[in-house]
């Protein structure tokens, strides 16, 4: 089992708040791993440190054995990490296809090209990616008028543009109907299997998590309190306390980032 992502003692403090505190875990090749936890547990903060949107206060992140701690997102992306965000940030002034084409243009290092028309570059590749996520029929619509669930699928297509070895997906199914969630998670599982890539995702829908994740990690108040298979996590006393002890099972609400 090759380790793709290795996280050691990762911490982020905002003033006095320990949003993430000494988190250590691995993600193996071909693994579909979930990071769960209540609202404000530090999941998004963790993702932001993995891909360089935030600089860690302490700790180390390595990708395929190389230290990538504190590198800017674009460098980490070039090393084969794709990501989707809890709140989508697609290019509103472009069409669906152009959004994917931009990522492909960047992947092929054509950003500074000043001869070709951008909307003609890598269009077929973009359509193929959109086909995977089931968005090909909407390829020429303006991104600004998409439904939220479609934006999430578009983000996934974008994240696949550079053939990532690792995908980070922050609440990929937020804002979707239950059926749609299930379909997207199934799609993600297929991608993991077909391309032999690794996916780390956060998710508030426990049905989805327990149905698809190979391994589950639980984060609570910045601390990792469990890391194991579905059965292990389910039977973990501390996890039960966090999720059940308070009386509420789980907030399905989509909280803000």
């Amino acid at each position: 089992m090759t380790v793709v992502l290795k996280v050691e003692n990762l911490s982020k403090h905002f003033g006095g708040l320990r949003a993430v505190n000494g988190v250590t875990f691995d993600v193996a090749r071909g693994e579909l791993k979930a990071l769960i936890g209540p609202n404000g547990a530090g999941k998004s903060t963790c993702f932001n440190m993995l891909m360089g949107q935030l600089k860690p206060s302490a700790g180390r992140v390595s990708l395929n054995g190389e230290d990538i701690t504190g590198k800017p997102p674009r460098d980490i992306w070039r090393r084969g990490v794709g990501r989707t965000f809890q709140i989508t940030g697609t290019y509103q002034s472009m069409t669906v296809a152009e959004n994917v084409q931009m990522a492909l243009i960047s992947h092929h290092r054509k950003i500074f090209a000043i001869r070709p028309f951008a909307h003609k570059l890598y269009r077929d590749e973009a359509l193929a990616l959109l086909e995977i996520v089931g968005m090909a029929d909407q390829a020429d619509r303006a991104c600004a008028i998409l439904a939220y669930g479609d934006l999430k699928r578009l983000e996934l297509a974008i994240a696949l543009a550079n053939n990532p070895t690792l995908l980070l997906m922050d609440e990929p199914t937020a804002g979707m109907a239950p059926k749609e969630r299930e379909r997207l998670m199934q799609l993600t599982a297929d991608i993991v299997r077909d391309r032999n890539i690794s996916v780390l995702f956060t998710e508030h829908d426990m049905d989805v998590v327990f149905a698809h994740a190979h391994h589950i990690m639980v984060l609570n108040r910045g601390e990792l309190i469990a890391d194991g298979t579905a059965a292990e996590v389910r039977n973990n006393a501390q996890v039960q306390e966090v999720y059940l002890g308070g009386g509420t099972l789980y907030a399905k609400e989509d909280a803000h980032a």
Binding site: Q53, P73, S93, S106, A113, A142, A144, I145
Partner: protein
């Protein structure tokens, strides 16, 4: 030693008015996030009202009463401006607000002219403080000492207001987090109005209090505004102690500059600012500011496509028509069209960085004038042939844009705008004060094209080819990966960075391209006029370009060109009217509030509604 002390005292005294105006601007910005370009106009109004009131109210009591009353009146005028002009645009993008306040400048200029006339007003001297005292043998006006004594009290009063009173707590809360004000159960719009009153009143006080030293004239609005911006940027936007420190620094620096480096007083100020920003990008006491959240305010831009067959045919037809002008049109028409084409290219270059890149530059004139001056300097001092000098214009302007861009790109939003403005002022002051090289106010003359291009018609064709070529080049770039990358960085910086795009580098490149093409327009300009003067580098020139882009439609590709053509077309007619500034100012404000899509955007909307044109959004 005595002279040194005297200069220091003069500098400190000058700081008083500057601090009053700057603290008002800073306060307004901190709470409302609006950069009030009309702040200098409020200062000017304070001075005029002060003069009038002092003539009516005699004695020491009358003098100081007039100062306070002027502040009060100007504060109320600020309230009117806030309610009528700014309230409708709080939610609009920054650019809209800035353009609106620029409209206010024009309106106030003409209203002042109407009421008080064109003559400069001499400020009355303060009763009881008319004489001088000797300090270390140097004569120091008593009034200067009074100002130095007053300023710290104003600072203290403001500090007390902001830290110790309930209003101050609200103001601070709003400065830090605007959504919090609502949570505190306060009507946000009245808080904004209140802050506008206070900020405007401070500007009015500043105008009135400096009367014994400077009087009142119609140029003082724009004269002070760039110094105020420098102060606010150096001190940190939104920081009142910062405004104080920077006011003192700049005023003292100016006095010593006049004494020891008379050729470079203006430049000095901007150099200091650049140095401060290099070390502390958010000013001495400013806090780091997150640029706008990713995504744009308001309706998003639409997806773009290169012009189709119909579009291209229309452009081709227009080109043929323009090419036939010399056959039918008069000499005058050709000269006018030459001007228009040059202005269109200048506006198009701004639109490239502004609309496509989301980089709102307030100092684009630096590259237009910079290119023009570069060519003119080569001709004047090196006797370079016209062809070479002409090619040097875009090259030099591009180089300038690369250098200035490096500083500016590190900031975003209003900070970016302020810094571009400051750099353009730097170039302007160099042209204005470096008499031996640039000819100062007299400009550089006798910069004519070579023999083969010297006829009006020939030069018209030359301009047509180069100008339209430049516009088409910009338009093409918009559709290339570089243009798309600019749009990507503008739409979502985070997403672009997370997919391998170095957004700052892309923006820097866009900045340089826009600069080079503005320089190209400058090159065309200087050889068409045969001369160049510093006014081509003024703030007003930068604003001209901003306004036409805005008038044409920010969220369109052709807005700049259409707006420029429209503006230059009507300008000739408009400027014959006595109060054309008033009309233009009101027009600008009306466009901002009523038709924010501009000419092209509104036409497109209208065509969509009538069904001539099916937009992406019409489904």
């Amino acid at each position: 030693m005595g002279l040194f002390a005297a200069q220091l005292i003069t500098g400190l005294a000058n700081a008083a008015a500057l601090f009053l105006v700057a603290s008002g601007l800073s306060l307004i910005f901190g709470v409302t996030r609006i950069v009030n370009f009309a702040h200098g106009s409020l200062y000017m109004l304070g001075a005029y009202f002060g003069v009038t009131l002092m003539q009516m109210l005699p004695g020491g009591f009358g003098f100081w009463g007039s100062v306070l009353l002027s502040g009060l009146i100007v504060g109320l005028i600020g309230v009117v401006i806030e309610i009528c002009v700014l309230r409708p645009v709080y939610r609009a993008p920054e650019l809209f607000q800035l353009v609106a306040t620029f409209g206010v400048i024009l309106v106030i200029q003409d209203l002042t002219l109407m009421i008080w006339g064109a003559d400069d007003q001499i400020g009355p001297r303060a009763p009881g403080l008319k004489s001088v005292v000797r300090i270390l043998g140097e004569p120091i006006p008593q009034y200067d000492l009074a100002l130095i004594a007053i300023t710290p009290f104003i600072l203290l009063a403001l500090w007390w207001l902001i830290t110790k009173t309930r209003i101050g707590i609200l103001v601070r809360a709003a400065t830090q987090d605007r959504t919090m004000v609502g949570a505190l159960g306060v009507n946000q719009s009245w808080l904004f109005t209140g802050v506008f009153f206070l900020g405007s009143a401070l500007a009015g006080l500043g105008g009135a209090i400096q009367l014994p030293k400077g009087g009142a004239d119609l140029l003082m609005d724009l004269n002070i505004i760039s110094a105020v911006f420098v102060v606010v940027v150096i001190g940190g936007m939104g920081s009142i102690p910062g405004a104080f420190v920077a006011s003192v620094l700049i005023s003292v620096l100016n006095v010593f500059g006049v004494a020891y480096l008379p050729q470079s007083t203006l430049v000095l100020m901007y150099v200091v600012m650049a140095v401060v920003l290099l070390i502390r990008p958010y000013g001495l006491l400013g806090r780091e500011e997150k640029g706008g959240e990713h995504g744009q305010v308001g309706e998003p831009d639409r997806p773009i496509r290169p012009a189709g067959l119909v579009g291209r045919s229309l452009v081709a037809a227009l080109m043929v028509a323009l090419a036939l002008i010399p056959v039918f049109g008069s000499n005058f028409t050709q000269v006018l069209l030459t001007d228009i084409i040059i202005f269109c290219l200048f506006a198009a270059s701004l639109q490239f960085m502004l609309s496509t890149g989301g980089l709102v530059s307030f100092g684009h004139a630096a590259y237009f004038g910079g290119g023009a001056y570069a060519a003119a300097l080569l001709v004047t001092h090196a006797g370079t042939p016209m062809e070479l000098a002409f090619l040097f214009a875009p090259f030099a302007a591009g180089l300038l844009a690369i250098i200035f861009g490096w500083f500016c790109i590190r900031l975003s939003g209003v900070y970016f705008a302020m810094l571009t403005l400051a750099f353009s002022q730097l170039v302007w002051s160099a042209a204005f004060q470096w008499y031996d090289v640039t000819g100062g106010d007299d400009g550089l003359v006798n910069i004519w094209p070579s023999e083969w291009l010297s006829g009006t018609t020939t030069y018209y064709y030359f301009t047509l080819i180069v100008g339209v070529g430049g516009i088409i080049l910009l338009r093409h770039l918009t559709h290339t990966p570089l243009g798309y990358a600019l749009r990507a960085g503008r739409d979502s910086d985070r997403q672009a960075e997370a997919t391998g795009i170095n957004v700052k580098l892309v923006q820097w490149t866009g900045f340089a391209v826009a600069g080079a093409l503005a320089g190209l327009a400058g090159g065309l300009f200087v050889f068409s006029k045969g001369s160049i003067f510093p006014n081509e580098l003024e703030i007003a020139k930068s604003f001209d370009a901003l306004i036409v882009v805005f008038l044409g439609g920010v969220k369109t590709l052709s807005g700049g060109v259409v707006g420029a053509a429209f503006m230059d077309g009507v300008r000739d007619w408009l400027t014959r009217l006595e109060y054309w500034r008033l009309i233009l100012g009101l027009l600008i404000i009306a466009v901002v509030i009523i038709a924010p899509n501009g000419i092209v955007g509104s036409l497109r909307k209208g065509a969509e509604r009538l069904g001539f044109y099916r937009g992406e959004f019409s489904e």
